[in-house]
């Protein structure tokens, strides 16, 4: 069991792409090793028979919590933009897309 490799270096690379977190070569290596150890620990759950068990998404069983369709005042533009590192003419500046 302990020698089983649950995540390969390539998978770590793919996960870093999915999560948009660039990893250095060294980080990829260390993370892959740590991920395998941690996932191995997670697999302890395999011991539990959950075949007739429903998952718990919420511990408090609430349904139908709504808000009325009544407008409230939005943030002033300068406050909305205040924390942005880059802004222009009332817009947020984001990187180019193509």
């Amino acid at each position: 069991m302990a020698s089983r490799k649950l995540v390969s270096l390539e998978q770590t690379e793919h996960l870093s792409w999915l999560a948009k977190v660039e990893l250095s070569e060294e980080e990829k290596r260390v993370f892959t090793e740590q991920l395998n150890r941690i996932l191995e620990f997670f697999r302890k759950l395999d011991e539990v028979d959950t075949s007739n068990v429903q998952p718990t998404y919420h511990v408090v069983e609430l349904t139908n919590v709504f808000r009325e369709d009544e407008p409230a005042s939005p943030l002033p533009q300068e406050e909305a933009l205040r924390n942005a590192a880059h802004k222009k003419n009332g817009y947020f500046v984001a990187p180019k897309i193509v």
């Binding site: 995540v7 998978q11 770590t12 996960l15 870093s16 792409w17 999915l18 999560a19 948009k20 977190v21 660039e22 990893l23 980080e27 993370f31 740590q34 991920l35 150890r37 941690i38 996932l39 620990f41 997670f42 697999r43 302890k44 759950l45 395999d46 011991e47 539990v48 959950t50 068990v53 429903q54 998952p55 718990t56 998404y57 919420h58 511990v59 408090v60 609430l62 919590v65 808000r67 943030l75 406050e79 909305a80 205040r82 924390n83 942005a84 590192a85 880059h86 947020f92 500046v93 984001a94 990187p95 180019k96 897309i97 193509v98």
Partner: protein, 476 residues
């Protein structure tokens, strides 16, 4: 009268109302205390000097200076989650808990250090350097709300708010010898709490004694229209639950909480507390929770999965650190921003959470963990049919040395063994000081059924009034 800094929240508000002390006295005393000790403790990431000029209304927290963990949004005050990626971020709004404290006249004295995005149990994962334990500066204060607990223990704030996802209020409360409450899931609004793991976490008070915790919880609790998962409790009057009387109450002692890895001296301190309560009329019985050994993996899978999604928003466009450069393509910029902005533990949890939710692994990890959660919750439901409270250690060991566990993520996760089951079950728990090991505080954990905070407070108060650990103060 006690020295001003030694007054509890309850006493301080009383003194302020009576005019025995003025707001200026209180503000000056606390700000100079921070100047005196915080260079050694590093409990604060930001101190609110403006507090002097804040006007304050009469209320339950009249002019009391309260510290807020740095993952709880404060209008006009930095809220960084101890992360580089939120450096300089100043929220345009108050978290509901902060708004409620202000509405009751409380003052926000500052923002406290923590593990980055509340991911950790030692406050060593702060991007701005660790907080030190006021009882022993070589040790961690616990985490992730280490700054909030250290500040209260060291008299840098009269009370504070922390957040508890898997023990982040109770662990540092235990390590710093103060009182910490993890409320029933849904009792306290999460609006404004920067999400780490939404389905597990709650904001809770960290205070010098049980009465203060009851007071602060009664201020911050209750349904908030901005948090769809929040509800009103049957009664918000927790102060009236504070009676020295445990006669006829039944306590369960889950033996899994005393298992392998528990420091025998910690177990001993907790057992002494149990015996003390027994001597005051509480009955107890040992009980077994068959699914408890699965709490840690279930907890970490759920927390990391939710975290991987919660932390996706930090891309540098709307707030925080940005690696933006003109002409560079978005995937590159986002990936670089996040690589430079997040610390190692945060990246690890994001990657693991991404894995647990990804196609082909969802059922095996995330869904499986949610099913195990059902079983663990079932163990607790079952126990609370029989018992009013459950008693156990908060932490399996006293505060460890700085640097001792930080290199080994799994070793760090293991210390949460006694706190995470409570978050999985959504029940309330409190940690109260119950002894010392090597000069470091030990915490007794008292758990109750959902929305039964009253009985939890009653047992905690009885124990506290019959013991004296809460009166001890750290040497700093």
């Amino acid at each position: 009268m006690k020295r001003l800094l030694e007054l509890t929240l309850f006493e301080l508000v009383d003194a302020l109302r009576r005019g025995n002390v003025s707001r200026e006295d209180v503000v000056d005393a606390y700000l100079s205390r921070i100047k005196e000790v915080d260079s050694k403790l590093h409990a604060y990431l930001a101190v609110n000097e403006e507090m002097r000029s804040n006007s304050s209304s009469e209320g339950l927290l009249f002019n009391a200076p309260i510290a807020i963990k740095d993952n709880i949004s404060t209008r006009g005050l930095p809220t960084t989650c101890a992360s580089k990626i939120l450096e300089g971020y100043i929220p345009p709004y108050d978290a509901t808990t902060v708004a409620r404290i202000k509405a009751e006249g409380g003052l926000i004295i500052g923002k406290t250090n923590m593990d980055e995005f509340a991911m950790g149990s030692s406050t060593e994962n702060s991007a701005y350097g660790p907080t030190y334990n006021p009882w022993n500066l070589e040790c961690v204060p616990g985490g992730s709300s280490g700054g909030s607990a250290a500040a209260v223990a060291a008299r840098e704030a009269v009370a504070s708010l922390g957040s508890d996802t898997g023990g982040s209020v109770r662990c540092p409360a235990a390590f710093c010898g103060v009182v910490g409450v993890k409320p029933t899931y849904g009792l306290v609004s999460r609006y404004g709490l920067v999400a780490y793991a939404n389905s597990l976490e709650q904001i809770g008070p960290i205070t010098r004694d049980v009465r203060d915790a009851a007071l602060l919880l009664s201020v911050i609790c209750g349904r908030d229209p901005n948090d769809s998962t929040s509800v009103d409790p049957p009664s918000k009057d927790y102060l009236s639950a504070l009676v020295v009387d445990v006669k006829g109450l039944k306590a369960g002692i889950p033996k899994e909480f005393f298992g392998e890895g528990t420091d025998p001296r910690v177990a001993e301190a907790v057992w002494r507390a149990i015996k003390l309560l027994e001597s005051h009329g509480m009955e107890y019985e040992e009980v077994s929770f068959p699914h408890l050994p699965y709490s840690l993996p279930a907890y970490y899978i759920i927390a990391m999965s939710e975290a991987s999604s919660n932390l996706a928003r930090y891309d540098g466009v709307r707030y925080g650190f940005s690696a933006f450069e003109e002409g560079e393509e978005w995937v590159k910029v986002f990936s670089k921003t996040r690589a430079l902005g997040f610390g190692a533990e945060v990246k690890r949890r994001i990657i693991l959470g991404t894995f647990a939710l990804s196609a082909g692994y969802y059922d095996q990890y995330y869904l499986k963990a949610l099913k195990v959660r059902t079983l663990i919750k079932g163990d607790f439901d079952c126990a609370f049919k029989k018992f009013d409270v459950l008693l156990a250690p908060t932490m399996p060991l006293p505060a460890f040395k700085i640097g001792e566990r930080i290199e080994d993520p799994l070793a760090m996760y293991m210390v949460d063994i006694d706190t995470v089951p409570i978050n999985l079950a959504g029940i309330p728990a409190i940690s109260v000081p119950c002894g010392f090991v090597d000069g470091l505080p030990v915490g007794l954990q008292i758990m109750a059924a959902p929305f039964h905070e009253h009985v939890m407070f009653r047992v905690a108060y009885t124990y506290e009034q019959c013991s004296s650990y809460h009166n001890l103060k750290p040497p700093i």
